[in-house]
């Protein structure tokens, strides 16, 4: 049971950071809404605010690490130029997708959208975390501010969802592979 270094990094980027971020988004949306709209008798404690602050900071870190690993580690492997005389396109995902009319759309539509839309996720969630840290429960008194924060949190979720969905499908049709082989488990043929 083994995996190549590039596949491993793709897994870390997509599942370790991207998917965990998407999971965290749903929790953040519910908590942000609940925290900033709760009626007076059940106002959240300082501990709840501290927890949500840490939660949002973790989301900001996840979102930035996801886009940065994607753009600066995985993407160069994806778009690597084809050396002259290359006959097998297996190590060149972009070229592999562009080599057939049946798959070119995964690059010209899928990757072209994913590589840009993904960045709206960290930008939006950074803003959301900052505004929450600055205002906390006081957001309850700023209806428009609260609406904007919740809308940008939804936008962040949508951007990450589009990027994650397209990334998973692109990697299905033209997986990023190569590099050192990492042995996960040694097994004998029976």
């Amino acid at each position: 049971m083994e995996i190549t270094a590039r596949s491993f990094w793709t897994l870390i980027h997509g599942v370790g950071f991207g998917a965990v971020y998407l999971l965290a988004c749903s929790g953040a949306l519910v908590e942000l809404y609940r925290f900033t709209t709760s009626p007076a008798p059940s106002e959240p404690s300082a501990g709840t605010q501290r927890f949500l602050t840490v939660y949002l900071i973790a989301m900001v870190v996840l979102a930035w690490v996801a886009v940065l690993t994607g753009a600066y580690i995985i993407y160069p492997w994806y778009r690597a130029p084809l050396p002259p005389g290359t006959t097998s396109l297996g190590m060149f995902p972009q070229r592999l997708l562009m080599s057939s009319p049946k798959t070119i759309g995964w690059h010209s539509f899928g990757m072209e959208w994913k590589e840009h839309v993904a960045w709206f996720a960290p930008i939006s969630i950074t803003m959301v975390a900052f505004v929450f840290m600055r205002y906390g429960h006081d957001l309850k008194h700023h209806r428009r501010l609260r609406a904007a924060v919740l809308s940008f949190a939804v936008a962040s979720f949508v951007a990450a969802g589009i990027a994650g969905f397209l990334g998973a499908l692109i990697n299905k049709y033209a997986p990023v592979q190569g590099g050192q082989t990492i042995q996960l488990r040694a097994e004998e043929l029976k």
Binding site: Q49, M127, R144
Partner: protein, 115 residues
């Protein structure tokens, strides 16, 4: 290290909305800048090559780095100007939503191909 102080339910003080407005508007403009840079880079070979800050990543490196710089610089400037006062959040929110919506649209390949 000094621990952050949180206001209790009884201590809640309504702050001015300027700081929040600065964060929202700058995030929207930063996103829009990214979409515009991506679009212009896609249409102009000269702009595309000038946006290659890191060759293995190609123009994406310049598009995103420039957009992030625009976002952060604008955020600092607006924060300095608005943090201690209240601003008309209605028009700022609407402008931010429009810019964010346009950002999504202008990165959508079938729309990019129209230009």
């Amino acid at each position: 290290m000094k621990r952050p102080q949180y206001l209790s339910a009884t201590e809640v003080v309504t702050r001015t909305n300027g700081s929040g407005a600065a964060a929202i508007l700058s995030a929207a403009i930063g996103s829009f800048a990214l979409a515009i840079l991506a679009l212009v880079g896609d249409k102009s070979a000269a702009v595309k090559s000038s946006l290659i800050f890191y060759k293995p990543t190609g123009p994406l490196s310049g598009v995103t780095t420039t957009a992030i710089l625009i976002w952060l610089v604008l955020w600092v400037v607006l924060e300095m100007r608005w943090s201690k006062r209240s601003v008309a959040l209605g028009p700022i929110s609407i402008a931010s939503f429009v810019l964010l919506g346009l950002s999504f649209l202008l990165t959508f390949p079938p729309i990019v191909d129209i230009f």
